[in-house]
Structure formats: structure tokens, C-alpha cells
Point group: C2
Chain length 474, copies 2
């Protein structure tokens, strides 16, 4: 393909975005963004980055949409499918959406007559789209695509055209992939959400959640902010297996979440094969799915509705432990938590017991990282003191890169420098006569965050990950 002359039209103001690309584990930039629910068509052409290329008299252009989607942490866990290809779960699950300011996927999707096949790049590396899960999502979206028209730029894609048009997808997580931080949830949700915008899909978030679900089960819960329930559904075709919002992020914004990133190494057992093995071999999973979880779902909805932290925390901890219990009851057994995870649980359990009431809940996904939910900011600061007491940074570590995200928690904890963490007194709940073990180096870093909003389109073209001239990753 040759381009005689290339004209780029930018529809948004300039922001520096490239640092998000170059540094994998840093505090992402705060973005300005528009809320999108229900207003897709009105602002549709305002966030498209369009590049029109005229070569040899043939009109050419690249149409780009960029979106940002949060990750989520389940407090009642999804583990086990009743349908492998449609990704239909054996029980309902409930999650908290995490603030995308600190943990999110950014995805740019583009369409152009010049693209010869669908391509995708994840975290800077091209990956295959041939997997059934990607194909299911793309097929479902193309099926629901509508006309896209932009007279100014000479673009016209009809509903029928989408079958022949190819897309480029560039996606980036600002947190470790496949380390139990639900990267695939945010990733697939973002892919579906951004393609839906590009393709002018008119279905609401609930329908989009059913499409995202076919890419990665827990992705469906990332279509909403706040507190989200994935209803398992009853239909064989999965049409009623969708996410619904229980409450938005403002409903319970006292909560502060501290994530302890124990290891950024890839987990040994993927969730997909792990949960298949559990369903096939665990003698306990059916009882969990049919008897235990249905009760917990009702109790958790009630706890969220009433902002009842003790009930919320008790259910969250119990359900995390039960998920890891059924993983362990699998043949061969699956261990996602390690000794450091166990030590974090022990730290939280001792403190809660000492106070006589829940200060903090813990939950672990398919990896060793702890997600710790504090009842409020004050408790979060006390939690951070404890975490830095047990897991002090290496002396040469920059505190700024050891505790990332919402830095105000660190300030509230009264810790300004690495040496402040070194002189922390043992928490009162541990026996003063027993020297406390401290585990320097066992934690990579902490992320301070909270419940957050759902997906948004990024209107600033500088936040786009696709070069609007080439249609390739920037």
C-alpha cells in the first residue's frame, strides 16, 4: 500500500501519553474522560481519530476509538463453568470494580479499508486472535454492528461492510498480566467495549457484558463501575448470563483497597484450565456452587446494600478461602496462594481478632496477590502501617514506587521515607514477648485504590495506542 499524501485530523487536544506505554508498573496518568453509557451515538464522531489517506485516487482512512476499562475483584468468586465455549458459570458472582485511575486496561481499536486481516497487540507484543474466545467476541460484535458515517472525512461503513472490514486492536494493562489481578477481565471488557463503540453497536452494557463474558468470564463484570453481580442465568444459549450493577461506586466510597503485589511472575495454572480441572475432579465444588454460593450471594447483596462492613468482610474472606479450598481439592491440586499470601492473611486475621470487629477483608484471585479492603481511610492507613511493618521495602527502594496509586493513604499512615517504615513499631495485636518476623523483599509493591467507575471512551487522541497514520501500534 502506498500513500501519496497523508492528512491527519485530530479531534481532541494534546496530552502526553507515551509514558504509559514505556513503563509497565507505574502509576498511570489521570485521564479526563466522558461518561458514555446511553449516549453513544450523540458523541460518536467526537472521539474518533480519523486519518484519511488518498493514494492513487483510492480513498483510504483509519478510524480509531480508544477506551479505558477497569478491572474488578470478585468478593463472591466465579470458579467453574457449566459451558466451556459460551463461558457460562456454575454460580453467580459479585465483584467490586477497581478505580481505573490505578488499575485498568486501555485499548485502541481501528478499522481501515487498508487492513488485510484482524490483528491484536497486547502490552507491546502481537498476539494471535485465532482463539475461539476472541473470535466469539468479534463475531458477536460484527453481527450487531451498524452503519458508521462521517461525511467530512469521506467515511462510510454500512452494516453489511463490517463482515469484510478488518480491525486492529492495541491493548495495554497498567498492571502485571496473568498474575491474578484479573487482567483478562479488564482486557476483554475493553476490547468489547471499544469495538462496540467503533462499530456503532447499540446494545446496552448488559448485552455487551454477555459478549465480553464469551471472551473471559469475569470480563462481563468490568462493564460497570461500583458493585456488580454476574447472574449465571439459565438459558442454554447464555443470553441471560449477564452482569448487572448492584450499586455504583459512589454508594460505598468509604472503602479503601490496598493490593499487595506478591509476585509479578506468571501464574502456573491458568484460570481456564484450573477451573475446568476443579469442575471435573473436586468432590466439593458442586456443593459450593449449588448450596453455599446461592446463600452467600443473597447475604452479600444485602451487605452491600446496607454498607454493612462486618458482613461484607466476613463473606469476602470466607469466599476467597473457599475458592482456594476447592482449587486445592482439585486433582492435581492448584495452589495460587504462597507463604507470603498466608502471612498477609495471618496479619489481617490477627488484627481483626484483636479489634473484635472486621477492620479489613482480604481476597485473593488466581494468584498470590492480596486484595485488602479496608472499612475506611483511617483503617487503610493503619493497614498500610502494618503491611510496611511486616513487609518493609528494601533499603534501596524508592518509597514512591513501593506504594503506588492513591498516595494520600501513605501520607495518612505518616510514612514519608523508607526509613519511616523501618522504625515502625510492631502492631499492638502481636505478642510483645515474641520477636516479630519481618519479610523484607517478599512484596513487589502495594497499590492503594478504591472502588471505581465503569468503562469510558478516551477522547484525547494522545491517549490512543494506535498511530492514526499507519493503523499500527504507536
Amino acid at each position: 500500500m502506498s500513500h501519496a499524501h497523508i492528512r491527519t485530523e485530530k479531534c481532541t487536544h494534546i496530552r502526553i501519553y507515551k509514558s504509559l506505554i514505556s513503563s509497565q508498573f507505574r502509576d498511570p496518568i489521570q485521564h479526563t474522560h466522558a461518561r458514555t453509557e446511553g449516549i453513544a451515538n450523540i458523541f460518536f464522531f467526537f472521539f474518533l481519530a480519523v486519518t484519511r489517506m488518498e493514494a492513487d485516487g483510492v480513498k483510504n482512512w483509519v478510524l480509531v476509538v480508544t477506551a479505558q476499562t477497569p478491572t474488578n475483584i470478585a468478593v463472591i468468586k466465579y470458579w467453574g463453568k457449566r459451558d466451556e465455549s459460551l463461558i457460562l458459570p456454575i454460580n453467580d458472582s459479585i465483584s467490586v470494580t477497581l478505580d481505573p485511575a490505578h488499575l485498568c486496561t486501555t485499548t485502541s481499536v481501528a478499522v481501515s479499508p487498508s487492513f488485510t486481516h484482524d490483528r491484536m497487540w497486547l502490552n507491546g507484543k502481537e498476539i494471535s486472535l485465532s482463539g475461539g474466545r476472541f473470535q466469539n467476541c468479534l463475531r458477536e460484535l460484527r453481527f450487531r454492528a451498524n452503519d458508521v458515517e462521517d461525511d467530512d472525512n469521506g467515511i462510510k461503513i454500512t452494516k453489511k461492510d463490517w463482515d469484510k472490514m478488518h480491525v486492529h486492536i492495541v491493548s495495554y494493562n497498567n498492571f502485571p498480566t496473568a498474575a491474578g489481578l484479573a487482567s483478562s477481565a479488564a482486557g476483554l471488557a475493553c476490547l468489547v467495549f471499544s469495538l462496540a463503540k467503533l462499530m456503532n453497536v447499540k446494545e446496552d452494557h448488559s448485552k455487551l457484558s454477555a459478549i465480553a463474558r464469551q471472551g473471559s468470564g469475569s470480563a462481563c463484570r468490568s462493564l460497570y463501575g461500583g458493585f456488580v453481580k454476574w447472574v449465571m442465568g439459565k438459558e442454554e444459549n447464555g443470553s441471560d448470563s449477564i452482569a448487572v450493577q448492584l450499586a455504583d461506586e459512589k454508594h460505598w466510597d468509604d472503602l479503601v483497597i490496598v493490593i499487595a503485589v506478591v509476585s509479578s511472575s506468571q501464574k502456573e495454572t491458568s484460570s481456564t484450565s484450573g477451573m475446568r480441572d476443579t469442575v471435573e475432579t473436586s468432590a466439593l465444588i458442586e456443593h459450593r456452587a449449588k448450596v453455599v454460593v446461592p446463600k452467600r450471594i443473597i447475604q452479600m447483596e444485602e451487605a452491600i446494600k446496607n454498607r454493612d462492613f462486618p458482613a461484607f468482610a466476613a463473606l469476602t474472606c470466607a469466599d476467597s478461602n473457599q475458592f482456594h479450598a476447592v482449587a486445592l481439592d482439585t486433582c492435581p491440586p492448584i495452589f495460587y496462594m504462597n507463604d507470603t499470601s498466608h502471612r498477609i492473611i495471618s496479619c489481617v486475621e490477627k488484627w481483626n481478632r484483636f479489634e473484635g470487629t472486621f477492620q479489613v477483608a482480604y481476597t485473593f484471585d488466581a494468584g498470590p496477590n492480596a486484595v485488602l479492603i479496608s472499612r475506611d481511610r483511617k483503617t487503610a492507613a493503619l493497614l498500610l502501617q502494618r503491611l510496611l511493618f511486616y513487609f518493609p521495602p528494601q533499603s534501596e527502594t524508592d518509597l514512591n514506587s513501593y506504594v503506588i496509586g492513591d498516595k494520600t493513604i501513605l501520607r495518612d499512615a505518616g510514612i514519608q521515607e523508607v526509613k519511616d517504615s523501618e522504625t515502625l513499631a510492631p502492631p499492638p495485636e502481636i505478642n510483645a514477648n515474641t520477636p516479630a518476623h519481618r519479610y523484607k523483599g517478599d512484596i513487589s509493591y502495594f497499590i492503594c485504590t478504591g472502588p471505581g467507575r465503569g468503562p469510558v471512551v478516551l477522547t484525547d487522541e494522545n491517549q490512543s495506542l494506535i498511530d492514526p497514520k499507519t493503523g499500527l501500534p504507536k
Copy 2:
């Protein structure tokens, strides 16, 4: 009490025993011993060490019995009581008795008119006998005690006297106490067995097992060698909650057992409080006890009967994992296994998968130590090679103290010196392209052993732990 003159009568030949006292973690001495079942009264006076003391015209004496009792490892686990004080379990369990040549408790019990109260010493330290469990065992035994007469030594204790007579108990484990190696099982079984001999209790082993059960649940299974089932029973008073022998140790003597002692530190959660918490808080334990275990018991009995190693190994691994799963499903969660335990499981699972059939089964009690059961001697040597590859000894370690017990397995593995373990090739089941992790120092030592016999009385007075003159620990 003053002793004018003291005369000691020894009824057995001399053997050196003191080294068993001084070294806690060594290969115990091989003992000569008499089998005792059903012949108690015939040889009763042959194994008593009697010391007669005549002071101020008052006849005095110390009557001592010494016994050795094996520990056992459950392959279908006991976890959870339906009656806390009688120690009645919520499910049947099955165990393999371990060779007492390598793991056992030795207990000497003594009675004397000079003793003023019941006393006990465990591993060289006096401990309280006031606990309900000791008291239950002592009461049950006194209730069943019979006349003991020795005309030659002027000893006569009538059935009624036992209520007023006091005993001294000195017990010693040749393996770490409370580290998940069922020390309390062997300990309580030995206490009950030796006191029963001392008191001329005529009940058979099955009745004695019901008494030992009241001291420590799993102790009842240590009253027999080989393969033992603890029948949970139905009676409220626990009379039918007894151990029965499924097969003796000769039935399946191909099996070789390697124990990896991961840590000799005391476990954080005792079995007693742990299983109580599980019964009270786990949402899975009832399903396990009522639905899963009854099926596994039938399958395991069949596997043992037929010496069907694949079935035996599959059940053993699955039930160990499920026990740890319900421990994890407890509030607060209980972790007995650590990262090293997980690595041992991973090593075994990889190997079994590579071979396409079970070579080795693993099982873990309430601690991090692995009990690995190999199908035969050849497999045990291959297992030991793998274990020494992943967990080589520290360079300064003496191989002789790193692999203890049945040394012939080490010889079969072709390892004579520490340096032989350093040059071991990675096992074929691990990916040649990935450098294998080796964990030097993570294992304290290995014990090679096998299925073994039940309790025996030790007839050699030098094996006694009680000084027959003073009635106190030697």
C-alpha cells in the same frame, strides 16, 4: 522416704539404651521385643523391672513396664469431632502404621507405693496430667485394672488398690513433637498400651483403642500394625468407635515410605482447635464427612485388599488435599502446608503425570511434612533421587543425618555422599529448556521407612526410661 538398702532385680539382659534418650532426631536402636497380643498374663512378670526397697521395715518397690508404639499416617483423614470430650469423629478414617524402627514412641510406666501422685515426663520435660484427656484414659484403665501379684518380690496389688496407687509415665518420641507427624497418636497409644500391661488390663486391642481414642483420636489407630480403620461408630458413649486392623504389615510390604521433614517447628494451629473451628465454620466439612468420605472408605478398603497402588495413591492424594481444603475453608483459615510442601506435591504430580501412572502418593497431616508412599523399593530410590535433586543437603551436612531410617533406599538411589546429590541430573519429566529450581536447606531431613507392626512390650530393662530405684526418669 529413706531407703536402708536397695536391691534391684533385673529380669532381662543388658542393652545400651541411653543414646535414645540423648539424641532426639536420630535413627533409633533396633530393639528385640516380644509380641504381646493375647498372651499378656503368661509372660507378664518377665518384662517387669522390679525394684524392691526395704526401709524401716516397710516393704517398698517400683514396678516398671516399657512399651514401644508406632505412629500412623492417615490415608483417609480424620478431621472433625462429633463429641469433643469422648473424641468421636464425624467420619471413618484409614491409616498406615509406620515402622516403629524409625518412628515410634517409647513409654515406661511405673507404679509404686512410694508415688504420691500421677506424674508424666514427655521428651525429658515434666508435663501436666491434669488435662481431661489424660484423666479420661487413666480413669478408664484404672476401672479395668486387675490384680497384679509377684510373690518373689512381695508385690501384691489388688484390683481395688489401683484407685489409690499412683503411676509415673515417661515417654519419648524419636521424631519431632507436634510437627504434623502424629506424635500425639503414638504417644497416647503407648501410654494406654503400657499402662494396660502394667495394670493387667485384659481387654483386647480393640477395646484399648477406644480408650486411647479418648486421649488423642488418631491414637486408636496406633494399636495395630499394617493398615487400620478407625470406625466412627454410632453409639453416644463411643463404645463402638474403635480401631480395626484391615490387613497386617506383611500384606503389602512392597510399599516404601519417605518422609520429608520440612520443619521441626511447632505448628501454629493445634489439630484439636483446628478441627473444632472447621466443624463450626466450614461450609464444606459436612459434605465431606457425610458424602465424600464414606465412598472413599469403601474404595480405600478395596484398594488395600487388592494391593491396587493406582487406586490407593489416587485416594490418598485426593483425601490429603481435601483435608487441607476444609482446613482452608475454616474461619480463620488454617494453613498446614507451606511453599515447600507445595513444591513436593508438584514434584510428585509431575512425575506421576510423566509416567502416566502413579509412582508415588503424597499425604500431609497437620503440618508441612510430606509423607510419600512409593509403590516399591525401585520407585522409592527414584523418588529419593528426585527429592535430593530438588532439595539437596547443605554442603556441610552429613548425608547420614540427612537421610535417616532405612539406609538401603539411599544405597539403591546410588547416593553415597553429599556431592553425589549435587551432581544429580534433572528428572526427565521437567522441561529441559527451563532451568530447574533447587531448594537447598528447605528440608531438615528425610526418613525412609515403611508399613510396620503394632505396639510391643520391650523386655530389656535397659530400654526402660524409668530408673527402677527412684521411679523417676533415667
